[in-house]
């Protein structure tokens, strides 16, 4: 056999013995590099073909022919794996997450990311929440009322500064969406919004009745900042009721001050049930510290705004409960 014939035979033996798994590619590269070092005349290079959606990989060995040109060598041993199985993909290939009955494809997730609120929660949690809602509306395939569609589209466009047709079309082009796909996409958002509103209206009254104190209207002042600064300013908070808010102007420059009226449930937790005049904190808060004082508190009343707040709180709690019960499987962890 010629020298090159011997090299081919040896290269074939190498390829047949390489581990055909993504996790072992580094090992395969080391073995191929050692082999190449032993056959310097053929300039050997290993080509790794990592297929999507499967741990199985393929290899080729490129060799320089003695008379010039490249020889590509590929070889697979008969390991008894049938052909279609060798070329199969993981059942969830192309999918990001499964939440109960909803399988979210990577493409769907990328689309969904465009409509995430990015408020108070990680994208992971918000994607799961959206999937939970998709589970709830899976059977809802009736037409979306025109006004709901319009409201969802308006909100989406406002949120992205798409104030006219030209900017919207430019955005669609950038995202690779056709106007029809955009309409379907907005239809999906409108359905989820509509479900959320229905659920809030359904749960709100009972939530308000169960814990009306959560929906007291509370006027409060709270400060946040480094522990030393917040602790030093607590005395100023104690006299706010008597001297107005003028004392706040003297606070340490590192301190951030908020004066607001909120529903009790929307206040920093330490202030939610605090009596007027009593200083609460300092307590750890978002990497710093927080202290505050309630200026006055008005008992909850059953008006539209309060019911809406109760509905929002109830929906958040309902969703948290669903999240706890749901089966969530991330496929790309």
């Amino acid at each position: 056999m010629s020298d090159f014939g011997t090299v081919l035979e040896s290269g074939t033996r190498l390829l047949r013995g390489l581990p055909r798994r993504r996790a072992h590619v580094a090992q395969a590269r080391r073995e191929a590099a050692a082999w190449a070092a032993g056959h310097p005349g053929v300039q050997a290079q290993l080509v790794v073909d990592e297929r999507p959606g499967t741990p199985v990989v393929d290899f080729d060995l490129l060799l320089e022919h003695p008379e010039g040109g490249t020889v590509a060598l590929t070889a697979q041993a008969d390991d008894g794996v049938p052909w279609l199985i060798d070329h199969s993909t993981h059942w969830a290939a192309g999918q990001l997450v499964t939440v109960d009955e909803v399988h979210l494809s990577v493409a769907q997730a990328l689309t969904m990311i465009r409509s995430l609120s990015r408020r108070d929660t990680t994208p992971h949690d918000e994607i799961v929440d959206q999937c939970l809602i998709l589970n709830e509306i899976a059977a809802d395939d009736g037409p979306v009322p025109g006004e709901e569609l319009q409201a969802a589209a308006d909100e989406f466009r406002r949120g992205r500064g798409l104030h006219d047709r030209a900017s919207t079309l430019a955005w669609l082009a950038e995202m690779g969406m056709t106007p029809e796909q955009f309409e379907d996409y907005i239809g999906g958002i409108a359905r989820r919004r509509s479900f959320r509103r229905r659920k809030e209206a359904e749960l709100g009254p009972a939530r308000l009745a169960a814990r009306p104190g959560d929906f007291d209207r509370v006027r409060a002042v709270w400060i946040t900042g480094p522990e030393r600064a917040v602790t030093g300013a607590v005395a100023e908070l104690a006299v706010l009721g008597d001297k107005g808010t003028a004392a706040l102007a003297e606070l340490d420059g590192e301190i951030e001050t908020v004066i607001a009226e909120r529903f009790a449930v929307d206040l920093p937790a330490v202030l939610a049930d605090a009596a007027p005049g009593a200083v609460a904190g300092p307590v750890p808060h978002g990497g710093g510290f927080l202290a505050g004082v309630v200026l006055d508190r008005t008992a909850a009343r059953q008006d539209e705004r309060t019911l809406a707040a109760a509905g929002r709180a109830a929906f958040t709690e309902w969703l948290a409960g669903r999240r706890r019960e749901a089966t969530v499987e991330w496929h790309w962890s």
Binding site: R21, D49, T54, P55, V56, D58, T74, Q76, D78, G80, V81, P82, W83, L84, I85, D86, H87, S88, T89, H90, W91, G94, H103, S105, V106, A107, Q108, T111, A139, D141, T178, E180, Q181, D184, Y185, G188
Partner: protein
């Protein structure tokens, strides 16, 4: 009396049940997977006749009163948890399957889509593809083979646009993880492992260019066609079972009359009263047959394309139920089975015609 044989979590049954109730039908939904663990079944022969009683745990059913059976997605029989020795479990399942097959054969009922053995035969792609070709469907040049030497010629005949599919779906794992063999579009890399073909046969077909894919649902003599346009989806464009609903468009589709009749004929010729036929409409307007699933999914055809399949199934079951009753009153001098089959077919057809407004 209508008997539905299916898993208790079957959404398709949930879609049809309210329609049956609206039609005043008496319905029992039972999963043979409950037998023999919880259900009790007795076939008693005496005095030249027989009596078959099914006790589901919730009710006792005289199977001679069952006129229509919808065999949807029943689970296989399973013994109770206290039967733990594997060979005992296998033995119990084997006995249970025989009793079930026997009593279903004796029940004087019309079946949707068919009894188990007929469905199994019709499900075989080789059998139904031959039948479709015989009925004039356009069928892609197809090779079923485990001969490695067939791969490269098929690839070349297809001009490099070759797909591979499995002959029957089944579960398997790779490195312990569940994998699927979806429709695979071949490239030259696939040819380099041709020896693997020897281990199990596959289907090789030229890639059929598609304007849209179609799922055609046949219920008795009624036909519903949904088009599935997956061209906008990178995930689903080669196999819509990847389900990418944001990018896949579903819509009702009007088939040419002759093709619609051929779909009914194909279904009936396989001994079925229901079938889900997959076709491709090519960009040049040709309809190409892929396969028929005797119990294939139709929920998305109703929900995404707005086609009233559940109503049609309810119509068929109720018509079969009532037709058999009428026929049983009249058919004293005829062979019961044949006469009942014909009468039920006609009754279902009449009802379908009424709903479609056809004369």
């Amino acid at each position: 009396m209508i008997l539905i044989l299916s898993d208790r979590r079957d959404d398709a049954v949930e879609l049809v049940l309210p329609k049956l109730e609206r039609r005043g039908a008496r319905v029992t939904w039972w999963d043979p997977g409950d037998f023999p663990a919880r259900g009790r079944l007795t076939a008693a022969f005496a005095g030249g006749g027989h009596r078959i009683v099914l006790d589901t745990g919730a009710e006792r059913l005289d199977l001679s009163e069952v006129r229509a059976v919808w065999r949807r997605r029943p689970n296989a029989p399973a013994p109770g948890e206290s039967v733990t020795e594997p060979s005992h479990r296998r033995h119990a399942i084997w006995q249970a399957e025989f009793l079930l097959d026997g009593v279903w054969e004796l029940a004087p009922a019309r079946w949707l889509p068919s009894r188990r053995d007929v469905e199994r035969r019709a499900h075989n792609k080789i059998i139904h593809m031959a039948q479709a070709a015989a009925l004039g469907f356009r069928v892609p040049e197809t090779v079923y083979t485990n001969d490695p030497a067939e791969l490269v010629p098929a690839y070349e005949r297809a001009g490099g646009d070759l797909i591979a599919k499995q002959i029957n779906s089944d579960e398997f794992t790779v490195d312990g993880a569940d994998h699927r063999a979806y429709t695979t579009v071949l490239n030259r890399r696939h040819l380099t492992s041709r020896h693997r073909l020897q281990h199990e046969p596959v289907i090789l077909q030229p890639y059929v260019p598609k304007a849209v894919e179609l799922r055609v649902i046949v219920v008795g003599e009624r036909v519903f066609a949904a088009e599935i346009d997956a061209r906008a989806s990178r995930t689903a464009r080669d196999d819509w079972r990847h389900y990418d609903d944001d990018r896949v468009r579903y819509a009702a589709h009007r088939l040419p009359d002759a093709l619609e009749r051929a779909c009914v004929e194909l279904t009936a010729s396989l001994g079925l009263t229901y079938g889900a036929i997959d076709l491709i409409l090519t960009p040049d307007g040709e309809y190409t047959f892929l396969e028929i699933n005797p119990n294939g999914a139709w929920g998305f055809v109703e929900q995404r394309a707005g086609l009233p399949v559940s109503e049609a199934i309810a119509d068929w079951l109720v018509a079969a139920d009532r037709a058999v009753d009428r026929a049983a009153d009249n058919a004293v001098d005829r062979t019961a089975g044949d006469a009942l089959d014909r009468t039920a077919d006609h009754a279902a057809g009449d009802l379908a015609d009424e709903k479609d407004g056809r004369s």
